[in-house]
């Protein structure tokens, strides 16, 4: 008896080492537990940070909320796991979170070696440098010999090495675990420069005690397409996340906002909008979720443009211009496949 139990227990244990993947595993699990477990940063204003009421807000958080709205019709059905750059992939691989929406750059190695799938790009970024104004540095080319604070486990670490090597310059990298320590190290003067994706530099700058004492240099040294990530081998879930993001972008393109969506749903004759709002076409069948999934996203979270302006754009302390993140027909490169 006991030995049988032992074997059964052992087998369970072994099977539990990694959750066994099948195509619909995550979507089914999410549906049955009733919420999405979403990995976010430990606090990056504008992308994922808690507000004074203790609620998570930000552009990355809005992707989590969009997925919850699509699956449950309720954007608040999300639980958040704050993760440092170093922890994030292990958390996703091990099944601790269902999706990762934490300013994560899509790269070849990550896409192919880590057992992950990138669902899309919700922010086109590039790496930049922030320096103390008192140094009088105007360009990254003047940084030979500088001490540079970075966060461990980021693409930032690698780009930095490439940039300095190809420009024949030397540097000293002080690598911290969390963004709080990185900022503190910069403030305490341990390093001359803090480097990170540019959007994050603006976000971290408003965390400084004296934001005016620091400036962001003009150079952008890399491509950082940031987007939500899911585990490999779970196509159903990948598609739900991917199309939740696409719905937000398509809604902006069609001019459907959280304010006018009800009105449009009632009156529209435009077949494109009808398909978007689940009035005709394939609706939610292909994604195996509710028919009005995109309507729920737009109603509760808003379209991509609304989310951008609210979190990082002109309606936020960060005041980042749309730039690359404008729609493809407005001078940017944000582009989503059509809903049809």
């Amino acid at each position: 008896m006991t030995i049988k139990n032992l074997i059964a227990g052992g087998a369970l244990l072994a099977a539990g080492i990694l959750p066994v993947a099948h195509a619909g595993a995550t979507l089914d699990a999410v549906k049955s537990k009733g919420f999405v477990q979403c990995g976010v940063s430990t606090g990056l204003p504008g992308f994922s940070a808690t507000n004074d009421k203790g609620e998570w807000t930000g552009l990355d958080v809005d992707v989590c909320r969009a997925v919850a709205a699509a699956v449950f019709g309720d954007a608040s059905k999300v639980k958040y796991t704050p993760l440092t750059a170093k922890e994030r992939f292990t958390a996703l691989q091990s099944g601790e979170i269902d999706m990762l929406s934490r300013n994560t750059t899509w790269t070849l190695t990550r896409d192919t070696n880590l057992g992950l799938n990138f669902a899309g790009v919700n922010y086109y970024d590039g790496q930049g440098f922030m320096v103390h104004k008192s140094l009088g540095v105007k360009s990254a080319k003047e940084l030979d010999g500088a001490a540079i604070c970075i966060q461990a486990g980021t693409t930032t670490e690698l780009n930095l090495a490439d940039y300095f090597r190809s420009n024949g310059m030397k540097y000293e990298a002080i690598t911290y675990d969390t963004s709080d320590e990185t900022v503190k190290g910069f403030e305490a003067g341990r390093c001359d420069v803090l480097t990170s994706d540019q959007s994050q530099l603006y976000a971290l700058r408003i965390k400084l005690k004296d934001p005016k004492g620091a400036m962001v240099l003009p150079e952008v040294i890399s491509k950082e397409p940031l987007g939500p990530v899911v585990r490999n081998g779970d196509e159903d879930w990948l598609k739900v996340v991917r199309w939740s993001l696409f719905a937000m972008i398509n809604a902006e393109e069609m001019g459907v906002t959280s304010k006018n969506v009800d009105q449009i749903k009632k009156t529209t004759k435009d077949p494109g909008k009808q398909r978007l709002l689940g009035l005709s076409g394939i609706k939610g069948k292909g994604l195996k979720i509710r028919d009005d999934w995109a309507y729920q996203i737009i109603k509760q979270v808003g379209n991509y443009g609304e989310a951008f302006e609210r979190n990082v754009g002109m309606g936020s302390p960060l005041k980042i211009a749309r730039g690359l993140n404008a729609l493809w027909n407005k001078g940017g490169i944000q582009y989503a496949p059509p809903i049809r």
Binding site: A11, Q93, A152, D162
Partner: protein
């Protein structure tokens, strides 16, 4: 005898009735089961990793790392491999642990003895030290020393200068010795002096045991060790020069730099562990009964001799096993390094390398193996030492 046993075990009973054999069989069965279980877990893990498209194996150790490490005891830059980052991290872990162990031991012994001082203020102060540093979480202490010291230091352009020594937010910069040909002789002379001192010490002890006459071993050895190398150094034409640190651009170049991360981490580890060592030393000394001291005095030994020859050897037997576990703790605690950016094994290998390659199973396995090995090595050494000390008993 033989006949009797024949009677009692007719026809060697059945195999299953013999409790000894049965025990063996069960043991082997359990062992085999555990082995199978592990094999199954191993296989299952590999299978799942494969299925998820997560790379496995140790090939990554040969791939170019491509990231910078703040401090390295061996040559390293971005073009070296992940295997090299393992070594760099390992050496940095060993360095900070070794420094921590030395200073924790020194501070710990001083505080431990002070704790027993008959001077009320000194013993209260020692007690305060122990209570404060033992009860504040180590991580907080590390962060405190790091972020408390940093703002006090000046920017490189306004470094504190003492002779050719510079101190600023980037660290402490010292002249670096450059050994020129001929310096080998000086080292040889030093080695010779050390060997000679050991021989003198042996001879002196034997003589003292035989005749009772003491010999000033300490001063003789000191003389030998200081004088001989200097003499050779002069004879060889002073074959040593210094690479001086110089301010260029953002910071000092050349010289020998000690980064503040190493300083803060070693300091925090030493101070924290010393509080425990002090208590161990106190209990060790108190375990030697006062009668021993009185007996030593009655034999006419001086105070210092009593402490050195009677009390400490006996106290050591109590102290050493506990000291071992403190050394182990210190080494393991050094893995808090990533919090302040000291590039130890956990920060460099289990941190950045893991994140860049994603091979968690292999990397965490290797890292755990290292800590296990260090722990076993320290405790093996201490067991050996302990045995030697224990033999002194008559």
């Amino acid at each position: 005898m033989t006949e009797q046993s024949n009677d009692e075990a007719p026809a060697a009973a059945s195999f299953w009735r013999d409790p000894r054999k049965r025990q063996w069989i069960f043991q082997i069965l359990v062992l085999a089961l555990v082995g199978l279980l592990f094999a199954y877990i191993f296989h299952n893990t590999l299978f799942n990793l494969e299925k998820r498209g997560i790379s496995t194996g140790f090939d990554f150790l040969d791939h170019e790392a491509g990231f910078n490490i703040l401090m390295s005891l061996i040559p390293y830059d971005e073009t070296y491999t992940y295997g090299r980052t393992f070594l760099v991290g390992l050496l940095n872990t060993l360095l900070v642990s070794a420094i921590g162990i030395v200073f924790a031991t020194i501070i710990g012994f001083v505080v431990g003895v002070a704790r027993l001082s008959s001077n009320w203020i000194i013993s209260r102060l020692a007690n305060l030290y122990i209570e404060v540093f033992r009860n504040i979480p180590l991580l907080l202490q590390i962060l405190f020393w790091y972020f408390a010291i940093l703002p006090l230091l000046p920017h490189p352009r306004h470094s504190i200068q003492i002779g050719e020594l510079f101190l600023n937010k980037r660290g402490l910069y010292l002249p670096k010795p450059v050994f020129e040909p001929g310096f080998g002789w000086v080292l040889a002379a030093l080695g010779l002096a050390v060997v000679a001192s050991i021989l003198v010490a042996r001879w002196a002890r034997r003589r003292q045991e035989a005749t009772g006459q003491p010999f000033p071993v300490f001063w003789t050895s000191l003389g030998l060790i200081v004088f001989l190398p200097w003499l050779v150094y002069g004879l060889a034409g002073f074959p040593l020069s210094w690479d001086l640190p110089q301010l260029r651009g953002f910071n000092f170049r050349g010289g020998l730099g000690v980064i503040p991360e190493l300083f803060a981490l070693a300091l925090a580890l030493s101070i924290y562990t010393a509080a425990y060592i002090a208590e161990i030393v106190r209990s060790g000394i108190q375990s030697v009964s006062h009668g021993q001291t009185e007996a030593a005095y009655a034999l006419g030994l001086k105070r210092g001799q009593t402490l050195r020859l009677v009390i400490i050897p006996q106290a050591m037997r109590v102290i050493i096993p506990q000291l071992t576990s403190q050394y182990l703790n210190l080494t393991k605690n050094s893995s808090l390094a990533p919090a302040i950016g000291y590039p130890d094994l956990v920060a460099v290998f289990a941190g950045t390398t893991l994140n860049q390659t994603g091979q968690a199973v292999e990397i965490i396995g290797m890292t755990m193996g290292v800590y296990l090995f260090i722990s076993l090595a320290i405790s093996a050494f201490m067991n050996w030492y302990n045995k030697r000390m224990a033999l002194v008993e008559r």
